[in-house]
Symmetry: C2
């Protein structure tokens, strides 16, 4: 399997099938419990299709985690291109993640399982919100001391992953889980209660396709 | 190894050594990567001391997770016996966890690694805060709708675990991590900013010993 950069559209059908099967199997079993044979069978390709491209399971996982996170980051950036307010960007980003977990449960399960631990995912997932928080602190839109930004980021990613688990397990709708998480997190950032609630209930734009 | 109820004082020296070794080994390697032989060696007891008591590693882990969580829950309850305000109870509980992770790093690493996943730990850890949140909502001390309580609980436990990781990894002091987490979480519960800050900075009582 080649490095998974580029757009989804540019992926061959076999690559797409391998990616989907890998996402599902890794999310179900963890990285150490999946073999190349199982992956090939689940994807409906010959083992050689995976072996020939010089990959082992650990490498496949790293590529997939990076690829999926980059893809989502790119699409969220595109979706929020016209939104300047850091508070609104944060609420929108949180809800886009939770809605996608509802719409694509295998994706949601993968993110829920590895989002907090796979280093590439952690770093990529934190980059956008980190910029929003810093901009919000600079512009005094958010009431947060600079040294609290790291803790706020940790609280945000943990809350979003918790909301995703709740949605893929069927305990909450994406609307309820996404809006509650956005509302409570905006409050934590010092956004007044009424405004936090309003921002967490706004109509959510569709997630833009990846067209970089 | 007998069931790990009762007080620490009532544990034999060998039991205490086994518990300490198990806490450290499980936290370092995960449950599936520890054998009874390694445990016995780390605890400085004969393998028979563990085998004779009819335990396997999975059972040992469950007993330890339950025992450690019960012990902390009992001690926190005793420490907060005189505190009625739900907001103050929540801030105090968060900070007691983070401070203990600083004072006893193996304990902190164990909680950080398994607090979100081991079912007995999850249930026990959520029970106290759950009562505080419900009481705070009933008394209108907290601004939270009833259906938001589950998400708030998830946000709290994830934030506390994140703070503990940050402390045991040396990225933040327990004071900074504990106070920031308490402050941001109280804000999320609708506590006014000034008050959230004040409550998160109060002098923290010593953790009561387990004397039930």
């Amino acid at each position: 399997m080649p490095r998974m950069h580029g757009t989804l559209a540019a992926m061959s059908s076999a690559e797409k099938r391998i990616q989907d099967a890998a996402m599902r199997l890794f999310a179900e079993r963890g990285v150490t419990q999946v073999t190349v044979s199982e992956l090939a069978e689940a994807a409906g390709v010959a083992r050689g299709t995976i072996y020939n491209r010089k990959s082992d399971v650990g490498t496949l996982f790293e590529q997939l985690a990076t690829r999926l996170t980059e893809e989502m980051t790119t699409r969220i950036d595109a979706t929020m291109a016209g939104i300047d307010d850091p508070a609104r960007r944060i609420a929108t980003g949180i809800r886009l993640f939770v809605r996608r977990a509802h719409e694509e449960p295998p994706w949601g399960r993968f993110v829920a399982r590895f989002g907090a631990t796979a280093p590439t995912m952690r770093a990529l997932l934190a980059a956008g919100p980190s910029r929003d928080l810093e901009q919000g602190v600079r512009g005094r839109r958010l009431v947060l001391r600079r040294e609290q930004i790291a803790a706020a980021l940790a609280m945000m990613s943990a809350s979003v992953l918790g909301a995703i688990v709740s949605v893929v397990d069927g305990h909450q709708t994406w609307r309820e889980a996404g809006s509650t998480t956005a509302e409570l997190f905006l409050r934590a950032l010092g956004v007044p209660l009424d405004e936090a609630r309003a921002l967490s209930k706004e109509e959510l734009p569709p997630l833009e396709a990846e067209t970089q």
